[in-house]
């Protein structure tokens, strides 16, 4: 009993000391650029880009393995900002094709299970247990995390509706 406790304590202490020393001498300076990019990302960690959260995506964009246009929640605007920051050209056509989308609840299908609200990174889904849920249009970032959690398929991604407040006079046709 005593021998076991002592050996495990010793092992823990030695390994801890090794880790501490390694942290001091093998410290990796995290890229300052990645830090700046993280500040620009939406910060909702929705994971739609395929990276573990916004910091992962920012690191990948900073070292060039991911396109600045990889963030669906940030959309065209963020892609343009990131590209300007990095000084690279980016193909925005893939983003402009579909346009931004947000989640909407099909009221006849919603059973009020509350599963969607728990994964929403911005708390954009309202609804108590066994009550029909709803999505706050202004708070939804379009990450679609909720869609796969819905057991009845009541959550669907729809294009953001154009309202009078969002409408923009079309660009005149060039000569």
């Amino acid at each position: 009993m005593i021998a076991a406790i002592l050996s495990l304590t010793l092992l823990g202490a030695v390994l801890g000391a090794v880790l501490g020393v390694a942290n001091k001498f093998l410290h990796v300076e995290s890229s300052a650029l990645a830090g700046e990019l993280i500040e620009m990302m939406p910060g909702s960690n929705c994971g739609q880009c395929g990276f573990p959260g916004c910091s992962g995506a920012a690191a990948a964009i900073a070292d060039g393995t991911a396109s600045p246009a990889c963030c669906p929640a940030g959309g065209k605007t963020l892609a343009a900002q990131l590209a300007a920051k990095l000084g690279v050209a980016v193909d925005l056509s893939g983003l402009s094709g579909e346009g931004p989308k947000i989640a909407t609840v099909a009221e006849e299908l919603c059973i009020g299970c509350c599963r969607c609200g728990k994964v929403c990174p911005t708390d954009a889904i309202l609804g108590a247990a066994r009550q029909i849920h709803d999505v706050l249009r202004e708070a939804c970032t379009g990450c679609a995390s909720c869609v796969e959690k819905c057991p009845t398929g009541a959550l669907v991604m729809r294009p953001v509706p154009v309202t009078l407040q969002h409408w923009v006079m079309p660009k005149p046709l060039a000569a």
């Binding site: 929640a73 959309g75 605007t77 911005t122 154009v162 923009v168 005149p172 060039a174």
Partner: protein, 507 residues
């Protein structure tokens, strides 16, 4: 200062354009009052600012002048029932807007009785305090009737707070085709002057300068007669030059002071109100009447009987045209439908849009009037500088459009994109027919969209952070509650002298 004024007078007005005004014969025809339509469509947002919030239920009976929707937020205006009847729906209706999109609106079915609700007027309005006048104007839903539809009470109260020295009354009506303000000044000059005096009382300003373009001699004569003996109100004939009715230009011509680029007229001690607004203010304060109808011009070569018509707010443009005399050849030659004036008004896809508080005209233009605007080919810019000379704001339209065409919206800002008043003079004079003002409208919309996206991104970040904090707080509270339960059980067990059991409920 005196010298500068003289110099300016000798130099004349360099900016602007002078399109053929097409105001007569509509301006000379007597005003006709249109009977109430069977259904009125009342958008909740007929003004700049926040939309009004409905306070009536579907099926509710209302009387003429009763409140239908209340103002919401600091800059907003209420909506009243233009006639007595029943609320049949609160829904979306087509907006008088080039996009053809819809707006939330209340639909009122008239009962034909047209009976007023109880009105609270005031026989001695000059005894009221400035704040009380402002409150009555706000309650009556009065907005600027010149076209921008900014809530008038907000402007009056703001002017009183900023201690403005002068009130400029806009009787310019520089837009071609429109003559409703001209008609109001000819027919109700004494009432307008009464309204102006009430506005002076509400703002605390010492004097009022009324600017009327010199192509309206009858209006000038009528207004001069009405102000005889009233020292505080002066009538000035100003040169007929578009856009004289733009507030910054009118202020400069009347007072000689220029409104700073990022400032408002109140910053130089002036506010501007339209003559129609003065009349609405008078009705609101003296009689307690809310703004439920307005005078508008039906004009254009396709209109059978051009003229000015008193219309209830919410009437469909289609019905107004039918009342005015219909379209020539049943609208066969119709080339363009316009709400407002031909320079700054909006082109609409169909006539089934309601008249709102800011609707100053309904124009049915034929091909000869539109030709030269729509039919012509755009050619490259030859850098002649005509647009620079015409721009009343002193901007460089050719430089701005070159950048906007290339998608570089932000680069157009240093050339004055944000100061552009969208008057359209540049596009009007351009010999290459470049749609300059459309480029600017596009760029302003895109820039506003970018700003919205930026605010949205910030809000998203904040919401994500708050959620993170909430999740952590809930976890902490859960852990604390569990610890308390455990401690409580341990204490209970200690008292009874029994061994503490393991957690009976696995978490």
């Amino acid at each position: 200062m005196k010298f500068m004024k003289l110099f300016r007078r000798l130099k004349g007005i360099g900016w602007g354009v002078h399109p053929a005004d097409h105001k007569r014969p509509a301006a000379d025809a007597p005003v006709r009052a249109m009977p109430v339509s069977a259904r009125l469509y009342l958008p909740l947002q007929q003004h700049l600012g926040g939309p009004a919030r409905p306070v009536v239920l579907v099926g509710q009976k209302v009387r003429k002048g009763e409140l239908l929707a209340e103002a919401q937020g600091a800059v907003s205006a209420p909506v009243h029932a233009p006639t007595s009847g029943v609320v049949v729906a609160v829904t979306e209706v087509a907006a008088p807007h080039p996009s053809g999109l819809t707006l939330p609106a209340i639909i009122l079915e008239a009962d034909g009785l047209d009976e007023w609700t109880e009105l609270r007027g005031c026989d001695a309005p000059f005894a009221l305090s400035a704040a009380e006048i402002g409150r009555r104007v706000a309650a009556a839903g009065v907005v600027g009737l010149g076209g921008a539809a900014f809530p008038s009470a907000v402007k009056l109260v703001g002017a009183a707070r900023a201690r403005v020295a002068a009130l400029v009354i806009n009787g310019g009506e520089c837009e071609p085709y429109l003559s409703c303000d001209d008609r109001l000044m000819r027919d109700s000059a004494p009432a307008i002057v009464d309204g102006i005096r009430l506005m002076l009382r509400a703002t605390g300003a010492g004097r009022a300068l009324v600017g009327i373009e010199d192509n309206k001699p009858e209006a000038i004569a009528a207004m001069r007669a009405a102000v005889a003996g009233i020292g505080a109100v002066r009538i000035h004939a100003v040169p007929a030059r578009y856009p004289m009715g733009s507030e910054k230009q009118l202020i400069q011509v009347l007072t000689g002071i220029e409104v700073p680029a990022d400032g408002r007229p109140a910053d130089i001690g002036v506010i501007v109100h339209n003559v129609g607004t003065a009349l609405a203010v008078r009705a609101a304060v003296r009689e307690g009447k809310p703004l439920i109808s307005r005078l508008l011009t039906v004009n254009g070569r396709c209109a059978n009987r051009p003229g000015n018509i008193e219309v209830r707010i919410g009437t469909l443009a289609e019905e107004v045209i039918a009342f005015a005399g219909g379209l020539k050849g049943d609208g066969l030659g119709l080339a363009r439908r316009v709400i407002g004036g031909p320079m700054m008004g909006v082109q609409i896809p169909h006539w089934r849009v309601p008249v709102v508080k800011g609707t100053s005209g309904i124009l049915a233009l034929d091909a000869t009037e539109v030709d030269g605007i729509a039919g012509r080919e755009t050619a490259p810019c030859i850098r002649c500088g005509s647009c620079v000379k015409a721009c009343p704001m002193g901007l460089l339209p050719l430089e701005m459009s070159a950048r906007i065409r290339n998608g570089a919206f932000a680069e157009a800002i240093p050339f004055g994109l944000k100061d552009c008043i969208a008057c359209g003079c540049c596009a009007y004079v351009c010999p290459s027919h470049i749609p300059l003002v459309q480029y600017f409208a596009h760029a302003k919309g895109e820039l506003a969209g970018q700003e919205r996206d930026r605010l949205r991104a910030e809000a998203t970040k904040k919401m994500a952070r708050q959620r993170q904090e909430r999740v952590e707080r809930e976890a902490r509270e859960k852990a604390e509650a569990a610890a308390r339960r455990k401690a409580g059980r341990a204490a209970a067990a200690g008292k009874q002298g029994e061994p503490a059991c393991f957690n009976p409920r696995p978490d």
